[in-house]
């Protein structure tokens, strides 16, 4: 039981890490990034290629994250421009369709060129013992990475000027403009951050199993579910929802099997939208 719970929490933190990027881009830029999983895969594949070329693994991972960030920068400054130029519903629609198309472009390219590449990270000690419970090192490392990432994120958002600016745009874009804040430049920062966090999520996936080129859409789907349940504009909500759904996923997978589990998760997302569109945990950014 405890093992499943722990597994669930670790998975949940992973999910939150993936999902928070979508929340940020949606809350700030008003764009639903359906290509989010692709950022994760790009980061992972880049890391894998670098490791294959002999680069020291942690460095390769960092560079992988960076390359995802660069992709995010390019996408934001080129493809998303038509979306940013519109407002409200038009922007949402354009953003959704453009990122959808982008997901196919990246997916198609990676599948074509790097179909055999995948990222698998092996740790020296496969598991260790704490108080009689065997813990997989991978789980511990992944959980630690996610927790550190979130702590840094919250510290950044709460403590730095840029962080406050970001929160202000999410809470009230008009108000931010009145303070002289240009949302466009900040959006780019957010897209880069978000891509890098997705890449981090993808790379930690490599600790558990392997991250392959075909996983992009699956990662996006999970991230979307978490974001929707937690609240598309709430970072706290996304974190909470991720952990919750991770636990649900772990228990459900154990007891009722893969398909039903996925249906339960999807159903939760659908019900949340229908019953409480702002998210189950949304009340603070």
């Amino acid at each position: 039981m405890i093992a499943i719970l722990f597994d669930g929490i670790v998975q949940g933190l992973q999910l939150s890490l993936m999902a928070v990027g979508i929340t940020l881009i949606f809350g700030l830029g008003g764009v639903l990034n359906l290509a989010h999983g692709q950022f994760a895969v790009v980061g992972g594949i880049a890391a894998a290629l670098l490791i294959e070329a002999g680069v020291y693994a942690p460095l390769a991972c960092a560079l992988g994250m960076l390359s995802a960030g660069v992709l995010g920068l390019v996408v934001d400054r080129t493809l998303l421009v038509p979306a940013y130029r519109s407002a409200g519903e038009e922007r949402l629609l354009l953003g959704l369709l453009i990122t959808l198309g982008l997901s196919f472009v990246v997916n198609g390219y990676l599948d074509f060129k790097y179909a055999d590449i995948s990222l698998t990270l092996n740790l020296a000690t496969p598991s260790f013992n704490v108080g009689g419970i065997t813990i997989r090192t991978a789980s511990a490392v992944a959980a630690l990475i996610a927790i550190v990432a979130f702590v840094l994120l919250f510290a950044f958002l709460k403590g730095t000027l840029l962080g406050k600016v970001i929160r202000s745009i999410i809470q009230n874009e008009v108000g931010a403009g009145l303070c002289g804040i240009n949302p466009g430049r900040i959006r780019t920062v957010i897209v880069i951050m978000s891509a890098m966090m997705a890449a981090l999520g993808g790379i930690t996936q490599g600790l558990f199993s392997s991250l392959g080129t075909e996983m992009g859409n699956e990662l996006t789907s999970y991230a979307l579910i978490v974001t929707v349940v937690g609240g598309v504009r709430s970072i706290n909500g996304t974190l909470a929802a991720g952990v919750l759904l991770g636990i649900v996923n772990a228990f459900a997978s154990y007891y009722v099997g893969a398909y039903l589990t996925l249906i339960i998760l999807l159903g939760t997302a659908a019900l949340t939208i229908l019953l409480r569109p702002e998210g189950l945990f949304a009340h603070r950014t």
């Binding site: 000027l161 406050k164 600016v165 929160r167 202000s168 809470q171 009230n172 008009v174 108000g175 931010a176 403009g177 009145l178 303070c179 002289g180 804040i181 240009n182 949302p183 603070r284 950014t285």
Partner: protein, 236 residues
Amino acid sequence: MSVVIAAEDVEVAYGDMSVVRGVSLEVRQGEAVAIIGPNGAGKTTLFKAIAGMLALRAGRIIYQGARLDGIRHYDVVKQGVVYVPAERELFPQMTVMENLELGAYAHYKSHAERMKFVLGVFPRLDERRTQMAGTLSGGEQQMLAVGRGLMARPKILLLDEPSTGLAPLFVSEMYRQLSRLKEQGLTILLAEQQIPHALAFSERAYVLENGAIRLSGKSKDLLGDPEIQKTYLGMD
């Protein structure tokens, strides 16, 4: 006295509909100018146009001798044109202090010192500095909105209906603080439906009706104008 801001023959339209047409006005250094008029007259539209949030269909806005229209609304703040809308547009899940701090974004280096000043102007905000903006009362939120505007070191402050929805006590206090600021040299352009306060506070006023200036002159004179009295002050 030099002209700080002037609108020349300004027209603002939504699609085919002109909301504001042929409006010319000017505000001089250190003045408080009021724009009064009924609901829907176009006051907010005019303000949004001056602040760069709406594009002009025709005409120009001149600020300190240069054209202001066409500059994005977030860029005019740094130049000293600060707009406080009727909707306030605060950041509900950030504290009073954080709201104020962000108000100083355009001049961030000196924000700490400016914050002391603004909290001195609105001691009530000082008492509530760590409270979430969304939980403040209507009057306090209005004060916060004005205070946030002040944080940007405005050369001219555009106040849109600062007294709407406020208890009379708050309204008086607000205008008292604004008078103090005016004495210290702040130029103010305000739009109001509450005529008595606006005319008492300002030196000059324009009457905007159906998108056009109908009357203008010294506020004292307008207060005494029989038509104004009948239409807006309900006196007969």
